[in-house]
Symmetry: C2
Subunit: 249 residues, 2 copies
């Protein structure tokens, strides 16, 4: 199995995705929030690009919960922001969540163009994502959402942790082969932060900005390695957990 | 002092360089070769972009030594390739070396556009570069040459090592402030490889390719931390060592 890690989603070409399983990481906070909402019993998450798209969806589906952020803050008229702590079982169980964020939802939609399938990754579900990848048997491209078009430490660390988990659990001829120096660097960074993933979030400029805005609890929550045993998948505009199987398997 | 690290030189804007001291790293092998040639008494290195430019220079300066590579190999009609081991005192002492390489010489010329000055960095001269930076008092942008337009592990590790050296030696209010997550990641990678820098070169795909082509000794040579006590600078088309002072200081 070949694995690559891409530092930012903006430059991805369809060629890089073709026939591969994409895993999207936006640890602070979109993919952590999606994983949390689904782990708390939400029926599905619909990632949309604009506030208008979210409001239009809600007109047709009055039961939908609107969540998301612009510049890390709640969007006027929305039920919830982009903090995973808001997506409790009481609020989202059985519901459809419509989510729009600055980076993460865009990265997910972008990764779907041309890829064989898209998984949602975060520090919360490293093992579950690695298991889904190992079962699917595709080559993999890990897509870091990044921050404002640049490298982000936390997404790269999470991608590296999935690579390490695969190296540990998939033996022999199928063992993952890293396709780039950036993938190798992601693994080294994952090594460094594996015993203290919260430190990666505080070493990240976006993490520091969130903490300064009062979201320290979000950082703590988003750093809880393998607290969720699910590997959500995106298909036809929706993210869901069960049953999710990569097409063709 | 603010420090940033840029993963590849191709995307740099003049705005990113303006008023800053740039340090260019192409560890495998252009900047290691330049540092070695100058440490061995070469008078100056003239980095040029094309083979034609090098040959034209040699017509006007028959004593000049032509060095460089295309796809890691010797260029027909040139005296030397791009291996630092070739740039011995016997061959280069007192001479002008004209060098053209796929990435490194381009990165140097690119970093000069708009910056306050350009230093030549490698694993061989981490401490000397950090001392020059500390003395100059400018904000710094570390420019990794990269490999074929992509992130390269060895350049990022070397840039991180200079950041670490500055953090260790420049105390108090002037202590370096990392401007991006990528700079933070470079420091972590430098931490990881500081006890075994040769491992970084073998973890790099370009290092593996060079080793497969018979250049293993180059990797060993290029990994010798602080074996050269010089911080060469580029100005007006030439790279030289003494006297080099950043303009304005």
């Amino acid at each position: 199995m070949k694995i690559d890690v891409l530092p930012v989603f903006g430059d991805i070409t369809e060629k890089q995705l073709r026939g591969k399983l994409a895993v999207v990481f936006d640890v602070l906070r979109a993919t952590s929030t999606i994983v949390t909402a689904l782990a708390n019993g939400c029926r599905e998450v619909v990632p949309v690009l604009t506030v208008e798209e979210a409001l239009a969806y809600a007109e047709d589906h009055p039961d939908a919960i609107l969540g998301g952020e612009r510049d890390s803050l709640l969007i006027p008229g929305f039920h919830l922001g982009n903090s995973p702590l808001e997506f409790t079982s009481g609020r989202v169980k059985g519901k459809t969540v419509v989510l729009t964020t600055t980076n993460g939802t865009r990265a997910i939609r972008r990764a779907a163009r041309g890829s064989a399938g898209v998984l949602i990754g975060s520090l919360l579900n490293i093992k579950a994502v690695a298991e889904e990848i190992a079962g699917a048997g595709y080559d993999v491209v890990m897509v870091c959402a990044g921050t404002r078009g640049c490298f982000s430490l936390e997404d790269t660390v999470a991608a590296g942790m999935v690579c390490r988990e695969l190296a540990r659990t998939v033996p022999g001829k199928k063992a993952p082969l890293l396709e780039s120096d950036f993938a190798a660097a992601a693994c080294r960074l994952a090594d460094f932060y594996s015993k203290d993933p919260l430190r990666a979030l505080y070493d990240s400029l976006h993490g520091q900005k969130l903490a300064a805005r009062g979201f320290s609890e979000d950082l703590t929550f988003c750093s809880r390695l393998n607290s969720a045993g699910i590997a959500p998948g995106y298909r036809h505009g929706r993210i869901f957990t069960v049953p999710f199987t990569v097409p063709g398997n």
